[in-house]
């Protein structure tokens, strides 16, 4: 009787664990408005790991960028404390990857500070960027 009971409990636990595993890697997608602003070149990836407004854009775009940057800063702060580096260092490292991962047509900030449009060629990045 006891054996049957513990088996049931184990099975239930296994089922819950399986559900958790299935649910865990559900990565969020970009907000459609954000994706559209990227594709249109209204926002770009900066070297410091944050988004920038390219040229003069609407208040909606500016707010979108500000909101995302606040969330990015929170993520960088968490990551930096885990890695034992400063938030600026972690953010800069993220900037390297963000610029590398831009799609063709999107904007990014080159080491000189000017906005560039990403082409099929590798982006111009800071010499310290890994990978």
């Amino acid at each position: 009787m006891m054996k049957f009971k513990s088996n049931t409990v184990l099975k239930a636990a296994a089922a819950l664990a399986a559900l958790g595993l299935v649910a865990a890697p559900a990565f969020a997608q970009r907000d459609p408005a954000y994706q559209a602003a990227r594709t249109a070149g209204q926002v770009g990836e900066k070297m410091d790991g944050y988004l920038g407004v390219v040229g003069s854009q609407s208040a909606t775009i500016v707010k979108l960028v500000d909101d995302l940057n606040i969330q990015r800063k929170a993520a960088y702060t968490k990551g930096a404390s885990g890695s034992g580096v400063s938030v600026e260092e972690f953010a800069f490292g993220a900037g390297c990857k963000n610029i590398r991962d831009t799609a063709a047509g999107e904007k990014y900030q080159a080491p000189g500070g000017a906005w560039q449009t990403r082409t099929a060629a590798p982006p111009q990045r800071d010499g310290r960027c890994p990978g």
Partner: protein
């Protein structure tokens, strides 16, 4: 508010020669000797302020080795928050 002390304050048992305060004539004589002696020291270094503004590049503090070390952590953070990147 008074700070608590473990023992009551007493004068040090020994005073080094330089710590003793000379008062009166002897102190005045030493002061008179010491002050002009400083003034006539040769070889003064003159530092002029540059006429151009000093630009400090903040990014210069970020070292390549640090970026390599945190590369995997950075990728994990971005992947876990892919909606905002």
């Amino acid at each position: 508010m008074n700070a608590l002390k473990l023992t009551s304050r007493v004068a040090p048992a020994h005073k080094a020669p330089m710590e003793t305060r000379l008062r009166g004539f002897a102190g005045a004589i030493r002061m008179l000797v010491a002050v002009p002696a400083l003034a006539v020291l040769p070889g003064c270094i003159t530092v002029n302020a540059p006429d151009k503004p000093i630009v400090i590049e903040l990014n210069i503090n970020i070292k390549q080795e640090v970026l390599y070390k945190i590369q995997q952590d950075v990728e994990n953070t971005i992947q876990e928050n892919s909606g905002i990147f």
